[in-house]
Symmetry: C2
């Protein structure tokens, strides 16, 4: 994979092929390690084992690569949320699955990249970035809709603003990108369970009536 | 206030005085409007109505001004959290007050600036930035301690990691800096109430089985 043989001479950038896939994969790794802002086109080229120009053959700039990483993830997230919404379970259970789905798919590294895209897209009206924004908007709207339906069914407090609730929960989930470190012994699954517990049952649910105290494998060394 | 008369000739930057206060106040306004990253030293000088050099007389760079804005806010936040912790009320009520206090004091504009400071301090080991970090660390630790004490008193679920809970709640609160717009009809008080409701009682508290609904100042209009 370290050497290069120039292939293809059409003027239009190639849309597919193993080289393109390899660039995206290596770029993902470097963005995760160094962060999008601190990664240069040269870094990506070096990781693929090609010259800078070989990357230009596929991508105009690093934000185009970033877009290619984020878009399928975002679409996947939206599709799975749509599937959950269609399940024959109540809104409380759907909300739990929404949180789990979000945390499982949208890991901290992707989140960091998504934030980079959001910052880029604030300044740009490029069709690609707009289409990504559109996916995110649809996704956020699904959360709002779910909260509203739960209120209509009498499962969630009716006096809360469904939009505020949706943004609060998504904000809680997404904030993990700035403080969560998977190398410190806590898993995404554990994080996800904490969010579900907080948002769905609330922390005061622990008062006397609860029986789940020893349910998990978590131990404090205090 | 628009004109300048040079006062003082000591080589040490002056520590106090109305001019210094004015610079900090104007800089706060510009950081809020334009964001810290997009504000130049010239912008601040223009807003104060002085030349760039007059600002240098008090501050070496704009991050020194930012620090001066954030530090008293952060100290105030810490002190009020310490006061709440000392109150003769249970941990659930303390947590509610912690959230309200955080949201009232640490408004989205300050948060944005705090994030800028955090990014700066990641790169720097300047004593001033370190002292700010120290305040934040003490503040965060108060949250963790409160959750732990609530668990020990049997008020919060014992199987949750107090650190994860503290970071989740603070993350939810702080995420508002990226999406909350006070000009859209929702107040910080309403936002704060939503966070309290979610974190303390949980969204499923709307369901018949719960008895805590009227325990707090919270009323459902359903």
């Amino acid at each position: 994979m370290g050497t290069v043989s120039k292939t293809g001479k059409s003027r239009e950038p190639r849309r597919d092929g193993p080289r393109r896939t390899l660039i995206v994969r290596r770029a993902t790794e470097i963005f995760e390690q160094k962060g999008f802002a601190h990664t240069t086109f040269e870094d990506i080229a070096a990781a693929v084992g090609v010259k800078r120009e070989a990357i230009y053959y596929y991508f105009r700039d690093k934000s185009e690569i970033l877009f290619e990483i984020i878009k399928p993830e975002s679409e996947y997230l939206l599709q799975s949320a749509l599937r959950i919404r269609g399940l024959d379970i109540d809104e409380k259970e759907k909300l739990m699955l929404f949180i789990e789905n979000h945390m499982m798919r949208f890991n901290p590294n992707y989140l960091e990249m998504a934030i980079a895209v959001r910052e880029l897209s604030g300044k740009s009206s490029e069709p690609k970035l707009l289409s990504l924004r559109h996916i995110w908007k649809r996704y956020t709207n699904l959360w709002i809709l779910l909260i509203r339906e739960g209120q209509e069914q009498g499962r969630f407090p009716a006096d809360l603003d469904p939009k505020l609730v949706a943004f609060a929960v998504l904000g809680m989930c997404n904030s993990a990108s700035s403080w969560f470190d998977p190398n410190r012994g806590v898993t995404i699954a554990e994080l996800s369970r904490t969010f579900v517990e907080l948002v769905v049952n609330g922390i005061a649910s622990g008062e006397s009536t609860r029986a789940t105290a020893q349910a998990s494998g978590f131990h404090e060394d205090r």
